[in-house]
């Protein structure tokens, strides 16, 4: 009996240690962005005009979070494009597309740049993330909206990296959803994208 229990523990230990090894010291893509239905339903109401999405830059001047986000030594990279500017571009496009208000032909274009993009996964009981971006709306090439929006969130975490790292990764798309939600909730943005 002791041998059986000991063998089982050994197997579980190997599995967990392998999991830890898998999670640390390498580049792992962030989860796919998944639109927030609250955002989609909101933008359907506020943006009757079709919108285009331009590029969001992730300037090299950012201290971190342009190319990758460090999670306890593991590097989380964008699963789309070359940096997290492309992740935000794709996220906004998906939100508008699902709401049926995205068009590459539209003369109203939303673009901008990431300013802050960090996740702290080092905590042993809670962790948090912050994101901030500059959003610019151009109508026929003329800037009609230029503001920064930010979002942050906190979640319960764990001492174990095998739990803390995937939790941090899974919360990143939710953080981006919150950022886009801030944009759609801004009355000035609503005015900027409404059909004249």
């Amino acid at each position: 009996m002791f041998m059986l229990v000991s063998g089982l523990y050994r197997m579980m230990g190997v599995s967990s240690v392998l999991g830890l090894i898998l999670l640390t010291g390498c580049s792992t893509p962030a989860p796919n962005y998944s639109p927030s239905i609250s955002n989609v339903e909101a933008v359907k109401v506020v943006a009757p005009a079709k919108l285009n999405v331009g590029r969001f830059d992730a300037p090299a001047s950012m201290k971190e979070g342009a190319q990758s986000i460090s999670l306890r030594g593991s590097q989380m990279i964008s699963p789309v494009g070359k940096d997290y500017g492309d992740y935000l571009t794709t996220a906004l496009r998906q939100e508008l597309d699902l709401a049926g208000v995205f068009s590459t032909q539209s003369q109203i274009e939303v673009s901008g740049a990431l300013v802050v993009n960090t996740i702290n996964a080092a905590g042993i009981s809670t962790n948090d993330g912050q994101i901030e971006a500059q959003f610019i709306v151009k109508r026929n090439g003329r800037v009609v909206y230029d503001q920064r929006k930010k979002a942050d969130m906190k979640w319960d975490s764990s001492f174990a990296g095998a739990v803390a790292i995937p939790l941090a990764m899974n919360n990143y798309p939710v953080l981006v959803q919150k950022l886009i939600g801030q944009l759609f909730a801004d009355p000035e943005f609503v005015r900027a994208v409404k059909t004249i």
Binding site: M12, L18, S34, A162, P166, N170
Partner: protein, 196 residues
Amino acid sequence: MKRIFLTAASLLTVAFLAGCAHPINMRPDVSLIQAGGAQKINKVAGYHISDANLALEVTTPGGGGDKVRYFPYRDVEAGFYKALSETFTKVSKIANPKDTAALNAAGINLLITPEITTTSYSPSPFTWPPTQFTVTLDCQVVDASGKELTRVKVTGTGKAEFDEFKANFSLSAVRASEDALKQLMAKLRETAVLAR
């Protein structure tokens, strides 16, 4: 004495590492949920997922005696919305399915309530991410008066081997979600009572 101490320390470490449920996600890539331009059913479809279900986290088996945990309704919702949008001419999220005044105001013809169940499995004694995953969507469809028209049930499967999931521990779950949602679109179209 030293041997007893080492054994105890090893068992404690293993128990600590092996006792956790690893967070994964099952968010599909919504850009892959497409009906390929097939004609939509000319109905306004509403769907309802309760707040309790959106907050529901489930735990199922992984490999090596470990477990995985995830949020089925929260993760699948955007893909579900996209699948309905590809099938019906208009889709709305319904907060309260018993609010007939709101249903009538939104012009809802069909109200769909999904129930999501999942299974996961890995034969590996050494790695925890599931290699096999299933997602079952069991959808009750009622008309505007609340009369049940039909139930549509599909089961999607997802598989991922070590070489694939080492960069994405959620891969089999993501694939199962995508498969289930693609099947759902096809089955909804085949269900004649929904087009009447």
